[in-house]
Symmetry: C3
Amino acid sequence: MPPPYHIKQTSIRDITCGKNVVIVEPANLYECKLGDDCFVGPFTEIQKGVEIGNRTRVQSHSFICELVTIGEDCFVGHGVMFINDTFSSGGPAGGDRSQWKSTQIGNHVSIGSNATILPVSICDGAVIGAGAVVTKDITEKGVYVGNPARKL
Amino acid sequence: MPPPYHIKQTSIRDITCGKNVVIVEPANLYECKLGDDCFVGPFTEIQKGVEIGNRTRVQSHSFICELVTIGEDCFVGHGVMFINDTFSSGGPAGGDRSQWKSTQIGNHVSIGSNATILPVSICDGAVIGAGAVVTKDITEKGVYVGNPARKL
Amino acid sequence: MPPPYHIKQTSIRDITCGKNVVIVEPANLYECKLGDDCFVGPFTEIQKGVEIGNRTRVQSHSFICELVTIGEDCFVGHGVMFINDTFSSGGPAGGDRSQWKSTQIGNHVSIGSNATILPVSICDGAVIGAGAVVTKDITEKGVYVGNPARKL
């Protein structure tokens, strides 16, 4: 008798890559796009439609959801979580993508480990401290820390 | 000569499931109970004795420890960590389960990514923001954010 | 045609262990040193040069980077992230190790789940609360919580 549950496996499938991309498995990447010289550490998930620029590094344990775009020369630390559903109607939007929001990360952005990134825009060159929770757009270069994140 | 350390593997073993449960491996689930139509993402651990209600989704990178009960139609985001040992005696309780505390999550509760849930009760319909650290019981519906989590 | 990206696999390689060490795979451990009776949970990464004392437990989803030393009888909770690069020059130090900083954790230190540990020293017997972000040295025993972490 088969088990009464369905098991899927993480995989790397249907991704588009530039040159010299390195990915450490186990990782769950699908229908996303990585530029040249990108690195993706283990225990990561990158969902469909995500675009990541040249030379950007995504460290272990990070999760990048649909509707996130990340520029070039960025650093996404370990355990960073991106979010596209803000529970704006009091709970998960589920399949209703009209309620999902997008995130744009510029170039040369550094995001510290265990940071949490709500759907926002972050400008070029910004630094997000480890453990920060980014709840608003960041339009000015600087170092942002805390929960919620504020400019140092 | 065998290596001088013992290697174990994550596995899905001795779990009880309702209908249409989907689990993405690698995942470490043992001696827990999942209702109908539950989803459990990759890089998760759910320990023994945990009970999860129908249609509840547990996203990637989350850890649900012993003594946690989660209701129906809940959403547990990515990287959510539950806790049963509050180091109340100044350090880990270790094997002394009399010092562990339990967590009860109601129905229709949504928990944002990277949230941390100390041993508490959370009432039906509550929304826990991404990155929140919940240190006290939540008895009133609403949105709770920050470290420590407070009502918005 | 081979895929245009390079896949690596997590592994346990070139580690030095005391007696009775248990490691749960998948895990990525390399060129580090674990004392007697250590436990390392699944979905963890421990980098080269890390030294961990006897009877210390590293729980699932944690990341311990280069230049971290952890004493005996410590508890590293789930999803704990250590950091050696503080982006002090406005971005990742990359290969320039002269900019990396070290972390020393004493004996009998307990670190709660989802905590983030910048490069600091933490004295014997300190307790770091779940979800705390430790940004400064801790020289006095006590319980430290919040973002940034402060003594309770």
